[in-house]
Amino acid sequence: MSSHAATLAGERRIAAGNASAADAGRLVLLRDLKLAFRRPGQLIQPLAFFAIVTTLFPLAVSPELSRLRAVAPGVLWVAALLASLLALESLFRDDAYDGTLEQYALSGQPLTWLVFAKTATHWLLTGLPLALLAPLAALSLGAPPQSLGGIVICVGVGTVALSLIGSVGAALTLGIRRSGVLLALLTLPLSLPVLIFGARATELAMRGDSFVAPLELLGALAVLGITLAPLAAAAGVRISLE
C-alpha cells in the first residue's frame, strides 16, 4: 500500500482532470517505474530467464563456438521473445486487480495513451535491459566483439515491437484465470515477423555485414506497433472492464 501512497499525488492530479494527456502519460510511466523498482526481485526475473535459456543451448547443442555461432541469432531472439512474454502477464494484471485500470478508463484521459505509457514501461523494464544483456549472451555464444553494438541496437528496436504486440495480448487475456499459456498462443504467432527480421539482422551483424535493411524493417514494425497496438490494447482493456 505504501507504494501506492508515493504516487497518490500524481494520480490525484489525473483524477482531478487538470493534467494534460502528456502529463498523465508521464505520471503513469513514472508510477509504474517506481512500483517496479520497489520489487527489484521481479525486475530481474525476465533477465535471469533470458540468461538461463541462452545457457541451455551450449549444454544441449554443443560447447563448440563454431557450431554455437551458427544458431546464436536464433537462440538470442527466441530467448528474448520468451523473456519479454514472461513479463507481459503482469503488465495490466495488478492494476486491473486493484481497480487502477478502471480509474484510468474513467479519468477522462485517453486510455490509449495511458496504455501506451504502461507498454513503454514494459519495454523500459524488459526490452531495454534485455538489449543491454544480449551482447553478453551473444559473446558467450561466439559472436565477434565488434558485432556487439549492432546486436544491442537490433534487440533494442525489436523488443519495442514485441512489447507492443504483447500489450494487445495482455489486454485481451485480462481477467482470465491461468492466462499464461493463452497469452503465449495469442502473442507468439503475431511476433513472428519481429523474430524473423531480428534474427536476420543479428546474423548479418555477427558476420560483419550491413544489417541496415532488416533493422529498418524492425523499425517499421515498431512504428506500426506504436501506431496501432495501443488502440487495440485499450479496446481490450475496456472490454475487460465491462
Binding site: 493463452l182 498462443l185 503475431l190 513472428l192 524473423i196 527480421f197 487495440a232 475487460s240
Partner: protein
C-alpha cells in the same frame, strides 16, 4: 432505397429462419458442383506431364488452402461488424466461422503434406506457403482459445473480435516476412502450381472445386450459425415457437 432487409439481418429469429431456408440450397449446390468438379478433375483432366496422376490432389488441396484464408477474412469482417455496430448476430457468425476455418487450414496442411511427399520427396518443407498456413492455424487456435476461456459471452465476443481484427492486419505482414525469410535461407522450392499456363481442361475443374468449397463453407456456416443462435438465445421466447413449427 429500402433498408429493412438489412436491418432484419440483426435479428436472431429472422436470421435463424433465413439460415434454415437457405441451408439446403447451398448444401445441394455445393454437392452437385463438387461432384462435377471431382469428375472433371479425376477423370476428364489429363495427367500432368511432370507430376503424373499425383497432381490431382490439387483439386482438394488448393480449394482448402483458399478457403482457409477466405474463412479468416469472413470471420474478421463479421467480427469487425459486431465490434463496431454491436450486432450480436455478427458475433455469432464470427464464432461459427472459426472451427470451420481451422478445419480447412488443417485439411490444407494435411493434403499439402500428402502432395509434397511424392512431388518434393518430403512430407514437410519450410516453404513460405506451408509456413504461413501453419501460422494461420495457430491464429485460429488462439482465437478459439481466447473465446473459450472467457465465460461471459459478450466479453468473449468482443475480445475475440479485437483479436480477429488484429490478426487480419498481421496476416499479410506475417506472409511477406515468411516469404522474405525463406528466400534468404533456402534454395527456392519448385512449386509447379505457380505456373500461370495451366491448360483449360485442368483449370476448369479447379475453378468448379473452388466454387463447390465456397458453397460448402456457406452451408456449414449456416448450420453452425443456427446452432450458435439457438445456444445464445436459449432463454428467448421465440425459440419454442420456431422449434415446434
Amino acid at each position: 432505397m429500402n433498408w429493412t432487409w438489412f436491418h432484419r439481418l440483426g435479428s436472431p429469429p429472422y436470421v435463424y429462419g433465413l439460415a434454415r431456408r437457405l441451408t439446403p440450397w447451398f448444401g445441394w449446390l455445393s454437392g452437385l458442383s463438387m461432384l462435377a468438379g471431382l469428375y472433371g478433375g479425376l477423370v476428364v483432366a489429363p495427367a500432368d506431364y511432370q507430376q503424373g496422376e499425383g497432381f490431382r490432389i490439387i483439386y482438394v488441396h488448393a480449394p482448402t488452402a483458399w478457403m482457409s484464408l477466405m474463412v479468416y477474412t469472413t470471420m474478421a469482417a463479421a467480427a469487425a461488424v459486431g465490434l463496431i455496430w454491436r450486432i450480436k448476430v455478427a458475433h455469432a457468425v464470427a464464432a461459427s466461422c472459426a472451427p470451420v476455418g481451422a478445419s480447412f487450414t488443417f485439411a490444407a496442411l494435411a493434403t499439402g503434406s500428402l502432395y509434397g511427399a511424392p512431388m518434393w520427396g518430403t512430407w514437410w518443407q519450410w516453404d513460405p506457403r506451408l509456413t504461413s498456413e501453419l501460422i494461420l492455424l495457430f491464429l485460429y487456435l488462439g482465437y478459439m482459445g481466447l473465446r473459450g476461456s472467457i465465460d461471459d459471452s459478450q466479453r468473449a465476443d468482443r475480445a475475440s473480435a479485437v483479436l480477429a481484427v488484429v490478426g487480419v492486419v498481421n496476416v499479410p505482414i506475417i506472409h511477406y516476412s515468411v516469404t522474405w525469410w525463406n528466400s534468404l535461407h533456402q534454395a527456392p522450392t519448385v512449386m509447379r502450381f505457380g505456373k500461370p499456363a495451366m491448360p483449360g481442361a485442368m483449370l476448369a475443374p479447379l475453378l468448379i472445386m473452388l466454387l463447390a468449397f465456397t458453397l460448402f463453407f456457406v452451408a456449414l456456416l449456416l448450420v453452425r450459425l443456427r446452432a450458435e443462435i439457438l445456444n445464445r438465445e436459449r432463454t428467448a421466447s421465440w425459440i419454442p415457437e420456431v422449434l415446434r413449427s
